[in-house]
Symmetry: C2
Subunit: 206 residues, 2 copies
């Protein structure tokens, strides 16, 4: 099954044709497409522009095999040419808050705002604010899935893994929250059609 | 400032041109476009296909004024022709889990899987599983923002509101978690250019 979606697919086509894909064409990923997918995902909005998402990209069969073992042996982790770990790092956000403020802002204003952000999260535990950052990082996950499909690629967002083991394999600090593991490549299977609630079932109009 | 993006805009164009927009063209929203935006958002993936997102769509100046008062008086709530409340309702998910299972599945299999889902969330408090559902609903928020832009509309996702008051105004139960308030319409201002971390800053390659 080859992929026939054009690179410039419309938003509607990309969303309609995205499926969870677990078998991929066995070929290395185009590295500039990979960077473009990450760039598009990073344009997601977040509260106060904190951008808590971070990416760990694995294109290494040995490490992928280890990650698969830490993911209940789900075969797509080694079948995909690349695996993106999307995670949230709220401690890095707070430590480097000045970076996310607009470059045109005066330094004093930047310091004041960064301090205000830190103060607002101080009453929360590291785990509480990690959970908040993880929710925000899911906005970027939505972006990532559509961006990949828009460039003709396929994905399967996974939540089934042992976070402790995955963090250890990647050398990530304990405080980061893994939002999803996302194998990425070109589809070598059809995937299943969408089965979703109707808009009428989901929506109340006022 | 009129909107010149074509309705069939590419994923890249939609993501690039999305801005947080707070002043909208004063005209009623095309209702079939509104439903299409909601439909596209509802195609987001979720763990076990639970689809915890729900939509409350307000197109009523009086209620919008009340919502604005519950949102620290942010003017975009009355300026937009429509306001979408995206919220997560995990209790509804658990009560109606059979609906999200594939229609081709045998009834007994459906009952077994729905029960397994309920059991897996039973150890959590209502608040804990609401937080989990809220994180998943943020995937649909990412979808919603891109879908709106793909059809030529603009949005501003808001987290600044008093949830108790918003729930009361809409008659929503206490257990639901409001993911974001999203004013929607056509832009009447430029918005600010993106200021984001570079891919290099966000990514580790393995």
């Amino acid at each position: 099954m080859t992929d026939t979606i054009p690179r410039t697919s419309s938003v509607q086509d990309a969303i309609e044709t995205r499926r969870s894909i677990r078998r991929f064409v066995q070929e290395p990923l185009d590295q500039s497409d990979l960077r473009e997918i990450l760039r598009l995902a990073s344009l997601a909005p977040s509260a106060n522009n904190v951008q808590p998402w971070r990416f760990a990209v694995v294109q290494n069969p040995t490490l992928q095999a280890d990650l698969q073992a830490a993911s209940y042996n789900q075969l797509q982790v080694t079948n995909a040419p690349a695996v993106i770990m999307l995670y949230a790092d709220m401690e890095d956000v707070l430590a480097s808050a000045e970076e996310t403020l607009h470059p045109n802002m005066a330094d004093e204003e930047k310091r004041t705002r960064a301090q205000r952000l830190r103060s607002s999260f101080e009453p929360q535990s590291v785990a509480e604010r990690a959970a908040w950052a993880n929710a925000q990082a899911n906005i970027a996950l939505g972006y990532l899935l559509i961006a990949a499909r828009g460039l003709g690629y396929d994905t399967v967002p996974m939540l089934g893994f042992e976070p402790e083991k995955v963090r250890a394999l990647l050398g990530l600090p304990e405080h980061v929250q893994i939002t999803a593991i996302v194998p990425l490549g070109r589809r070598a299977e059809e995937g299943f059609p969408h089965h979703r609630h109707s808009v009428q079932r989901l929506t109340t109009f006022y």
